[in-house]
């Protein structure tokens, strides 16, 4: 009997298993924080966009997604010609992830992300909006959404094999993995998907770059083995994987060396135009395109005037109406309860309303500017259109 490992006495020794990094497991959330967080779910009106188990969704006129979905499938109560017109306009908020199976996520990550959300799902053209919440509130919300303790991490898998599997199983058909060398998906899907599921998958698939900080390691492996078991209705299919396969994919996603994120591009405010810009142009190209959905006068629109007027998503009522000339000229209500002009220059000379639109570009670039980016969580207003508004303001806002 020999225990030598020399060439004369070859023994099939498995490679040493690298020790898993010691990361403190998240305990069950503090019940008091969970209770506070449940109240915050109401205050921030999470059900206006997300399905949350055990909670009634918002009514249709207040739901940011169902209204659009109903319009797109022709079920919204409006005349057919109106529906056809609206259907041609809708590009945003046609799908959002349901808040189910969140125990797979790290509570600490969620709290930080809620404070400064970045683009997690590149296939969606809207992102989680930057809400008005403090560090403690974010922690309480995360506690309410993820009260469960974290389970111990499984043994690490083979990252090289994991990289192969990401291609072989066509994971990268839906998922981007920024920061690693491109992984081409296999031409044939490992499981059949209908068109609707594929489209939802393409839209909702998160960028795998963020998974290492976002998901709990044990939950990641379990998720890979059977996603619908953890989140019924998820577009992520159950792909045939062995336990070793799942651990290998998890290892690569968690440990692959990442290229640094690109440096945020500076956002340039374009110069004032020489030509005259009047209200009908900025109304059509900017304010009546997106802004008025959340900032309108409840007396002249369906519903309550939107969260940017009568309050919502945790925001105080700002009474801002961007749907008409007198409305926008009437300004908004500031933190002190007094009306203020939305054209008043901030200390750097930028009109407030321009600063908010530029801030959205900065948010998309990964920044968290002092002014909240507008439109909230949506595609930024093109710089050329901001230039139009800037010019209109500089010219005295001709009607």
């Amino acid at each position: 009997m020999s225990c030598g490992t020399g060439t004369e006495d070859p023994v099939d020794v498995p490679p040493p298993v690298p020790a898993a990094p010691v990361v403190a497991l998240e305990p069950a959330a503090d019940p008091a924080a969970v209770a506070r967080g449940q109240a915050l779910i109401d205050r921030f009106e999470c059900v206006r966009c997300h399905d949350i188990p055990g909670r009634e969704p918002a009514s249709l006129e207040k739901h940011c997604v169902r209204c659009h979905q109903d319009i797109l499938r022709g079920a919204f109560p409006a005349p057919p010609e109106t529906l056809r017109e609206w259907q041609g306009h809708i590009t945003h908020l046609t799908d959002v992830p349901a808040l189910r199976g969140l125990e797979r996520l790290r509570r600490g990550w969620l709290a930080a992300w809620l404070r400064a959300p970045h683009d997690l799902r590149p296939g969606l053209n809207s992102t989680m909006p930057r809400l008005s919440l403090g560090t403690d509130e974010a922690a309480d919300l995360a506690a309410a959404l993820i009260p469960e303790p974290e389970l111990a991490a499984p043994a690490p898998g083979d990252p090289a094999r994991g990289r192969e599997l990401l291609g072989d199983k066509s994971c990268t058909l839906c998922h981007r993995f920024t920061g690693v060398a491109n992984i081409a998906p296999a031409p044939k899907l490992p499981v059949p998907l209908d068109e609707a599921q594929l489209q939802r998958g393409l839209a909702q698939a998160p960028d795998l770059r963020f998974t290492r900080e976002r998901m709990r390691p044990a939950a990641l492996v379990a998720w890979l083995l059977d996603p619908p078991r953890h989140k019924p209705g998820t577009p992520m299919p159950t792909i045939p994987l062995t336990d070793a396969d799942a651990r290998a994919i998890a290892a690569y996603i968690s440990d692959a060396t990442l290229e640094p994120l690109p440096t945020p591009k500076p956002v340039a405010r374009l110069p004032i135009l020489e030509r005259q810009v009047r209200w009908p142009e900025v109304e059509a190209k900017v304010f009546k395109k997106t802004c008025w959905h959340c900032h309108s006068d409840p007396d002249y629109a369906r519903g309550d005037g939107g969260p940017g007027n009568s309050g919502g998503f945790g925001f105080a009522p700002r009474r801002l109406d961007l749907a008409s000339y007198p409305g926008i000229a009437s300004g908004s209500v500031g933190d002190d309860g007094k009306r203020r002009s939305v054209f008043a220059p901030l200390p750097d000379g930028t009109p407030r309303i321009i600063a908010h639109m530029l801030a959205r570009h900065l948010e998309v670039e990964g920044g968290a500017p002092e002014q909240r980016g507008m439109p909230l969580g949506l595609t930024p207003v093109p710089l050329a259109d901001i230039q139009l508004v800037d010019t209109w303001i500089a010219q005295g806002r001709p009607q």
Binding site: R278, P298, D299, Y300, R319, Y325, P326, G327, A329, S330, G331, R339, R340, S341, F343, A344, Q395, G396, R397, P398, Q399
Partner: protein, 212 residues
């Protein structure tokens, strides 16, 4: 005068409740009732914006009759009633009370003009409530400025809005220019007239103040 208007307003409140609107007139046959009140109100708002006060008033009266003069009596239609009343009040203020709006308010006689303008001021003040928007404040100032006793208040309201760059339209700036001139504030009048000209709203006479 505002006391007279208050009395008028309260009196008509009781008198006109229950009068049929256009949308109610469906007879006894079984048919679908389509409430077109909103269309009437929208049309009247456009006419008001174009300065066609007589037509605006007529359109409101087609839909509401004297009910637009009274306070809303509860139930549905509060918002549309408020919009209709605003149209009447502004049409009165901008026409100087020349056009009859019903309930003996407005017309050729000076007393009817005065009563209509007093009613318009009261209606706009009640609509604004305790936290009026700048648009509501500027419209109230328009009505107040039509009475000698209301000009000081109108000036104060517009001056405060103007200092915060919150006057919502060219009419408001033109009126501030005029009221400033009347008070001897030549610089203030010039600035307000210049803002009015920058806005360049068709049909608004920004230079009135300088001629006053």
């Amino acid at each position: 005068m505002s006391r007279l208007a208050l009395v008028l307003s309260l009196a008509v409140t009781g008198a006109v409740v229950g009068m049929p609107s256009v949308a109610d007139a469906c007879g006894n046959s079984v048919r679908r009732v389509v409430d077109r009140t909103q269309e009437y109100v929208q049309k009247a708002e456009l006419l008001l914006a174009k300065g066609q006060y007589k037509k605006a008033i007529s359109t409101v009266r087609d839909a509401f009759g004297d009910r637009a003069i009274a306070s809303h009596q509860g139930g549905s239609g509060l918002v549309l009633h408020g919009r209709a009343q605003r149209i009447l009040a502004l049409a009165v203020a901008r026409s100087g009370g020349d056009i009859p709006i019903g309930m003996d308010l407005g017309g050729a006689a000076q007393s009817r003009k005065d009563a209509a303008i007093a009613w318009a001021g009261l209606a706009l003040r009640l609509q604004g409530g305790v936290a009026p928007t700048p648009a509501q404040t500027a419209e109230l100032a328009e009505a107040l400025s039509r009475q000698a006793s209301g000009r000081a208040e109108a000036y104060g309201l517009l001056k405060e809005l103007g200092d915060g760059d919150l006057i919502p339209n060219a009419q408001g700036w033109a009126l501030l220019a005029e009221l400033s001139k009347q008070r001897g504030d030549v610089e203030g009048s010039k600035k307000a007239a210049e803002r009015c000209r920058q806005i360049g709203a068709p049909g608004v006479q920004c230079d009135v103040a300088e001629q006053a």
